[in-house]
């Protein structure tokens, strides 16, 4: 028994050592000259390969930054720290990392949105979208939380009203929730934007009002109240903000009859405030 054990260890150890030496020699022979800049950049990047930068993984972004084809603040998931470190490494002035955050553009939850049907299928948004969901509004949030499920950074949760909330402090802007939403209700915006129209309903005013208390009825009051001509437009019976023109203030929100356009709403919820307020949805639907 003992000798068997010793022989096994020697045999395995010998084999391992042989391969180790062989591979070391081979790695020297097949050495690929990688730009040391790329290696230094790779050390700083988060290595999650989330693709939020628009390139195929962290290594691809590292190559582009080293080649000067991508900005040093090109990693939204890395945030300001990564941008600053990369700026030091690459040797240019750091540009302020404009973090992207997810914004859920629907406030028609259980309290506000009318329902006429009961859905008994798979409780996922992707499945419910095939049948139209329970709410009468055909553009509304379906409320089954595919977005929350998609978030890898614990930056989202469902509240009691059946709507997803984004934690402003935790969101890294990877865009997974926006891609998961079958109705494209979630949009990615830079964190300096605070004015949003929280509705996607494109039906005419009276029709929209019938299906949801906080729908946009295209009354045009916000269009008139915006300081800049053309800052807000009505397209397909829905107010749409032109972020290049419309200044970030609360003037367009003052006269909205349904309170669907709001200022500073998306920054209100952080993970701490959410869990402290006890607003979380009780599990079991």
């Amino acid at each position: 028994m003992e000798t068997g054990l010793v022989i096994s260890i020697v045999a395995m150890g010998g084999l391992g050592a042989f391969f180790a030496v062989f591979l070391t020699v081979a790695s020297q022979k097949f050495k690929v000259e990688e730009d040391p800049m790329v290696e230094k950049i790779m050390e700083v990047l988060p290595q999650t390969n989330c693709g939020a930068c628009g390139f195929a993984g962290c290594h691809a972004l590292a190559e582009k930054i080293a080649a000067g084809q991508a900005p040093v603040n090109g990693c939204p998931a890395g945030g300001q720290d990564v941008a600053d470190t990369l700026a030091r490494i690459v040797g240019v002035e750091s540009m302020k990392a404009k973090r992207l955050v997810a914004v859920v553009l629907c406030r028609g939850g259980n309290a506000e949105a009318k329902r006429s049907v009961v859905y008994k299928g798979d409780r996922t948004c992707a499945a419910a979208d095939l049948t139209g969901g329970e709410k009468d509004c055909a553009y509304s949030c379906l409320g089954y939380g595919d977005c929350v499920e998609a978030c890898n950074f614990e930056a989202m949760a469902m509240n009691e009203n059946g709507l997803p909330v984004v934690f402003f402090d935790k969101c890294v802007g990877c865009g997974a929730c926006a891609r998961a939403c079958p109705r494209d209700i979630i949009e990615m915006h830079t964190e300096d934007r605070r004015l949003f129209v929280y509705c996607r309903n494109r039906d005419k005013g009276p029709q929209a009002k019938k299906v949801c208390k906080v729908a946009c009825i295209a009354c045009r009051l916000c269009v008139k109240d915006c300081e800049v001509e053309g800052g807000i437009e009505i397209r397909d019976n829905l107010a749409t903000i032109n972020y290049e023109l419309c200044p970030q203030d609360d003037k367009p929100t003052r006269r909205c009859p349904t309170k669907c356009i709001l200022f500073g709403e998306n920054e209100r919820v952080t993970s701490a405030s959410f869990y402290a307020s006890g607003m979380q949805k009780v599990s079991g639907d």
Binding site: G4, M12, F22, L23, S27, F30, K31, V32
Partner: protein, 192 residues
Amino acid sequence: MKILLVFISAAIVNNFVLTYFLGICPFLGVSKRIDTSVNMGLATTFVMSLAAAITWLINHYILIAFNLPFLQNVTYIITIASLVQLVEMFIRKSSPSLYRSLGIFLPLITTNCAILGLTLFAALREYSFIESLSFGIGAGAGFTIALVIMAGIREELEFADVPAPLKGAPMTLLVAGMLALAFMGFAGLLSV
């Protein structure tokens, strides 16, 4: 004669992917385009042949000689992993574009159950050295054949009118099943 039969058996009659259902991960993952499939198949064939040869040597001169057959699994995995590392280094140096297009599937050849399966089958069936080598090359050839057929079909499917719920993975799996069914026509022809 047996050498040739072993080769044909591994390549067509008892195809590793379509009969034994081994190596399905790269089969589904790399078979989107014919040229990547061919390259993946070649890389895998290379690993398989070398793995078959080297594991035979290890089996005879170390494991059986010192009465350690129970170490087969572990030593074979070590061998295969090292070989894949070698192939990775080689491809990275010689063709960076191929390296990038294979992506994660190149190191995943290590976990390809077809390779471990091949080495264990060869040990189980007590092939000689040449037979093992032939078995390895045949298995690689079979794997490549399956991959290329699949890639050809998938390239055609890109332009076909596939119903929306079936687009992508469901259609691929259905086609794979039909291919396996077709290869069942060879069942029982050779049992080497």
